[in-house]
Symmetry: C2
Subunit: 150 residues, 2 copies
DNA sequence: ATACTAAGTTTAAAAAATCAACTTAGTTGT
DNA sequence: ACAACTAAGTTGATTTTTTAAACTTAGTAT
């Protein structure tokens, strides 16, 4: 896959890696435990084999997925997320929670196991060791020379 | 746009609304203040006019974007996010932070304005009024009849 | 009256995704 | 030993999306 978006923007560049059709769903399905090719194909109803194959190769190259032999004879592989793949979890959760709040039909929700109340996403400052409100956060450019960096 | 993914999954259904190419970038660009058609077109380098037009129509139908007249004579409109559009902010932030941690070149970061340290995403239980670790969260199906709901 | 701008639309071409059939290597049942 | 089966893809044709470039329309500025 070539670089689709050329924007100097974390979001655009991240979407160059995980923004293609089916890609996030494949990663999420691996995360929740579907690990072989046919298991993924079966669970991602509607995906075609060649697309799944292409995506897995691309994601392996990009370092988000790795393959592991789980039986020799016959040689069989399973797909697993690398650490950077697993680090997409907040992305999945943010999408899941948006769906919980705004879809006509919600399939899943996330609750605090202690009290069974629904949780939200928030921001945390590891230095101050506390939750901070979005209004206390500055989103700043790391590129000093470029005023238009996003 | 027809429903692309048929999976009973919040993430898939959310991506049916915002997962098309350019869509999240358009929403993000509106969020950060680019509001007219040409402003969006200029800032989303590489997008074609017809695609931007199609996406804006679709997002308006889906209730994430609304238009507002800002001058009559000549009639000029600006695009704004609705509340459900603004609620995508955690999605943008999760993507931004993944990029901060994993892209070769990071353009942006988020810092706590008090201490200038980088913030992270975390989970918050509004009932217990505290941050909860992911390990204390259950992701549960809201569809009692379907064991395979995601 | 002519040029310019905003906000698109139209059409053709290129790229990506879907669909269905085929391949290959190993395994199991008879 | 041979046929049927399974996992994990690959190949090629068709359809859908996206891109690219030119065109439109209404109002403004010179």
């Amino acid at each position: 896959m070539k670089e689709r978006y050329k924007l100097p923007c974390n979001i655009a560049q991240t979407l160059n890696i995980v923004g293609d059709r089916w890609t996030l769903l494949i990663l999420h399905d691996i995360l929740i435990g579907h690990q072989t090719f046919n298991e993924l194909k079966k669970n991602l109803e509607g995906i075609s084999a060649n697309l799944l194959s292409d995506r897995l190769k691309h994601l392996e190259k990009a370092g988000l997925v790795e393959t592991e032999v789980y039986t020799k004879h016959p040689p069989r592989y399973q797909y697993k997320l690398t650490e950077s793949g697993r680090d997409l979890e907040p992305v999945f959760d943010a999408l899941l929670l948006w769906g919980r709040d705004h879809l006509d039909h919600c399939y899943k929700k996330m609750v605090h196991s202690d009290c069974q109340h629904e949780v939200e996403l928030s921001y945390y400052c590891p230095s101050c060791k506390k939750t901070v409100d979005k209004s206390e956060i500055n989103t700043i450019s790391t590129v000093t020379s470029d005023l238009y960096t996003r």
